[in-house]
């Protein structure tokens, strides 16, 4: 079954990657001449044209695209205009930081949302429920950069508990992960609450209660596992959203993830880097979908891969 799913993944990947590369190419092409941004202020127009020719940007677009694609097929993923080196390692360099932050943010989100959602569902219409709903609305309504800066001012500057920015140690991870995590926790808590409520109303929960086993087993084993599927779905969607880099949060915390790289590449119209970055994101997205399917299967034996 896993092989089947993997085969499907490969089948899906080809058309998606192709579509993506074409759209990105068109967009970057429309964004105009990258040399305008590259060339020094005091260079002449002739210098610029020489640069254009050196990069082959004077060719008609379809020729450029075909050349690009055939290079890719022969394993050459292009050279970054701004770094002057191969684009692939530039992108792959950023991947660990992005993946780390994504994972940490998800851990934070789940650690907050799952207990909160369960508590709210078990105490429907109580003060707890209300508090969870209120907090989740707040979490959803506050812009990330604002939350991030507030966290820096409070925990970094005022309390001096945590490092302000950067990466490297576990302490560096906390604030950005919390910034992202709380935003996702808001949505997730509502979802956990809803799916717990739905699950708790199911016949098999009544069966479980009728067995006279402890409540925590009914909730933790019978209900939670069944309520997990939508949670997993949303988590995977969030992971996908984060794979492109949590641009705002990365910028605030000077976190060296993909988001900053991509945005700078977009600003400088660095075609090769944008293409590879989007490729990598697409591949990661497909992998996450694949992983999600496997997790579904582990949670729920009825699901076919």
């Amino acid at each position: 079954m896993i092989l089947t799913a993997f085969g499907r993944l490969l089948l899906q990947a080809v058309p998606v990657l192709f579509t993506v590369s074409l759209i990105v190419f068109i967009l970057v092409f429309l964004a105009g001449d990258p040399t305008v941004m590259m060339i020094p202020d005091d260079a002449t127009e002739a210098d610029r044209l020489a640069l254009v020719a050196a990069w082959g940007l004077d060719q008609p677009p379809h020729v450029q695209y075909l050349r690009y694609m055939s290079n890719i097929l022969s394993g050459d993923f292009g050279t970054s205009y701004s770094y002057g080196t191969s684009a692939l390692p530039i992108v792959l360099d950023r991947l660990p930081a992005t993946l780390l932050l994504t994972a940490a943010a998800m851990v934070v989100a789940i650690a907050i949302a799952v207990p909160a959602g369960i508590l709210a569902a078990l105490n429907r219409n109580s003060a707890i429920d209300l508090a969870v709903s209120g907090a989740s609305v707040l979490g959803k309504a506050m812009p990330n950069f604002w939350v991030g800066i507030m966290l820096i001012l409070i925990f970094g500057v005022q309390l001096r508990l945590l490092p302000v920015s950067g990466s490297g140690t576990f302490a560096h991870l906390i604030l950005p992960a919390v910034t992202l995590g709380t935003a996702f926790a808001a949505d997730l808590a509502k979802l956990v609450r809803a799916s717990m409520l739905e699950t708790l109303g199911q016949d098999y929960i009544r069966t479980a209660y009728a067995k006279g086993i402890p409540d925590w087993i009914v909730i933790g084993k019978h209900a939670l596992r069944n309520a997990a599927i939508p949670t997993v779905t949303m988590t995977s969607l969030n992971v996908i959203a984060l794979l492109g880099g949590a641009l705002v949060t990365e910028t605030v915390f000077a976190w060296p993830g993909l988001g900053q790289l991509i945005v700078n590449a977009i600003y400088t119209k660095d075609m090769a880097v944008i293409q590879i970055a989007v490729f990598v994101i697409t591949v990661m997205t497909l992998l996450v979908n694949f992983g999600t399917d496997i997790v579904y299967r582990l949670i729920d034996p009825r699901i076919r891969l």
Partner: protein, 580 residues
């Protein structure tokens, strides 16, 4: 009526369950109380099967759930007396209830799939009862669970432990449920509509099992059902509920022979009976031979084959053969009964005739013209009434629009004409005119199904297909709808195809019967021929599974030995002071 003995109960013994003047009320959101059950008196003794009957919503399930305190949130239970296996239910605290559940009372719910946790193995679901209720070790649990499953008549019980509910058939699931309920060795077993979701033949097996379990372990059984044939077949005593109250209790034979309450009488009148031909083929009427020769049939199917393609594995996909070379014909004005197990292709056939799906090969001739040929027949001459009255009505359309929709947009009816038409149609199906401006969810199940029939009738069809039009309805409503269909059939001179699970009702309404098995027609003939002398073993099996509503004619005989009082020493339950 506090502690007086209930008539016809085995006197002088302590019952496993004893309710006196029990009631459950639910506070309404805007004040006031909604009584769900009122003043219920009920006794269940060891090795006794008590059937609780009544129409939907009469409070049967509430009564049962109150013995486990699984009532809706906020619901309040009160009683003059409520004793289960020696424990006063009125004074249990949360831990007391937990201790009671599983080890003193076990329950089997109606829907075997949804009542089992879909993501846990069978072994796990039985094992946790064995662990928490009987403290068995891992190895003991496995052995005991295997033994339990084997006792429930399941083949290869050891393997089953590692399987999941979805891998089991309906009957197997219900056996597993029973195993779970019995795992804690309870004194009282509650079975809430344990067979409603099952096929006729599987139903018989499960009932058999419940009866034998009661006989083997001496457990008292409270069996909830609305099917009187089931009651007649298995129950020792019967309790009839209506509107939350107990209207009659008594020995099953007596109740069936001489029902006291008007309501009970009404129910017993509706109870299905085995057609006489089945018991005595001699009573069969010979089919009128003339019919066969009479001209072209209205509907004729020639070698219709239908496959469904489902997404399957890597490259290919799975195909299901839903209809396999089906040929049949139906003369004008006749009713054809279509029977067969679930999944045998009945609905597929209906969808093809109605034009919702295309056959892979074969032809469907309506009035001599090919429905799928180049020159298509008038489709509006064929209409359908669906099984589920709720999902077959658009929840966001008013009844007036629903019933007049088939009249078509081309006809350009004015608002008033439309209204008038709708009112007439409602009247035809016996609904008050004013209902035309309602939405489907504002109607009861029976009313909705009447709307479905009105919609089908709006274009004056010549052929009406009823795909299980009553299986989602209450017994008494079922009878109403079938009676209505009978009447309309004559009134409108309809040719009808009638699909249903209940063979007795199919027999009652049909002229001819077609039996489908795995998409193939295995038998086709006059109803008396098919029921009286079935040729195919499959048909025989179906007919044998019909239960008769006659307590004297029970198939589930059992030994009613006297069991000693609670063999196991019951654990002392934690109690709080009585809440009354």
């Amino acid at each position: 009526m506090s502690t007086q003995a209930i008539p016809n109960s085995p006197a002088g013994k302590e019952p496993v369950l004893r309710y006196r003047n029990a009631s459950v009320v639910l506070p309404r959101p805007r004040g006031g109380d909604l009584p769900l059950i009122r003043g219920v008196d009920l006794d269940v003794y060891r090795n006794e099967i008590v059937a609780l009957v009544g129409e939907s919503g009469s409070g049967k399930t509430m009564t049962a759930l109150s013995t486990l305190r699984l009532l809706p949130q906020n619901a309040r239970f009160s009683a003059d007396e409520a004793v289960l296996n020696g424990h006063d239910l009125r004074s249990l605290n949360a831990r007391g209830w937990r201790a009671l559940r599983g080890s003193h009372v076990g329950i089997v719910f109606q829907e075997p799939l949804s009542s089992l946790n879909p993501v846990l193995t069978i072994g796990d679901q039985i094992g946790e009862v064995l662990y928490h209720k009987r403290g068995l070790s891992r190895r003991q649990r496995r052995a005991e669970a295997t033994d339990l499953l084997a006792r429930m008549g399941l083949a290869r019980p050891a393997q089953l432990l590692d399987e999941y509910p979805f891998q089991l058939s309906g009957g197997m699931r219900q056996r597993v449920m029973l195993a779970i309920a019995m795992a804690g060795e309870p004194a009282l077993l509650i079975a809430d509509e344990p067979t409603t979701a099952l096929d006729n033949s599987v139903q018989a097996q499960v009932l058999e099992l419940i009866v034998s379990t009661a006989a083997d372990t001496g457990v008292g059984v409270l069996m909830i059902t609305h099917d009187l044939s089931v009651v007649a077949q298995v129950a020792d005593r019967v309790a009839v509920m209506r509107h939350g109250e107990m209207v009659e209790t008594g020995d099953v034979r007596e109740v069936f022979r001489a029902p006291k309450a008007a309501y009970t009488r009404h129910l017993i009148d509706l109870a299905p009976r085995i057609p006489a031909v089945v018991r005595d083929p001699a009573t069969a009427q010979t089919p009128p031979a003339a019919d066969a020769a009479a001209g072209t049939p209205l509907l004729e199917l020639r070698n219709v084959t239908k496959h469904y393609v489902q997404p399957g594995n890597f490259w290919g996909s799975r195909t299901t053969l839903a209809l396999d070379n089906v040929s049949l014909s139906l003369a004008e004005g006749k009713t054809l009964g279509l029977v067969g197990e679930s999944g045998s292709g009945k609905s597929s056939l209906a969808r093809i005739i109605i034009g919702l799906s295309k056959p892979d090969s074969g032809a469907v001739l309506f009035d001599g013209r090919d429905l799928f040929g180049p020159e298509q027949a008038r489709r509006s001459d064929v209409q359908i009434v669906f099984q589920d009255p709720l999902s077959s009505l658009n929840p966001r359309m008013r009844i007036v629009d629903i019933v007049t929709e088939p009249l078509g947009e081309k006809q350009r009816l004015t608002r008033d004409q439309r209204r008038h038409e709708a009112e007439t149609l409602l009247e035809t199906v016996g609904l008050p005119r004013h209902m035309i401006s309602r939405f489907p969810h504002e109607l009861s199940g029976g009313q909705r199904q009447r709307v479905g029939i009105a919609r089908a009738l709006s274009v004056r069809p010549r052929l009406l297909i009823c795909d299980e039009p009553v299986s989602a309805l209450d017994v008494s409503v079922q009878a109403e709808i079938i009676a209505l269909l009978q009447r309309l059939r004559e009134e409108f001179r309809l040719t009808t195809i009638f699909i249903a699970h209940g063979l007795d009702s199919v027999y009652a309404v049909s002229d001819d019967i077609v039996v489908l098995e795995k998409g193939r027609v295995v038998e086709h003939g006059h109803r008396d021929t098919v029921f009286g002398s079935p040729q195919h073993p499959y048909t025989r099996k179906l007919i044998d599974a019909i239960l008769d509503s006659d307590p004297d004619n029970s198939r589930f005989k059992r030994d009613k030995a006297d069991y000693p009082q609670a063999a196991r020493v019951s654990t002392q339950l934690e109690q709080t002071s009585p809440i009354i």
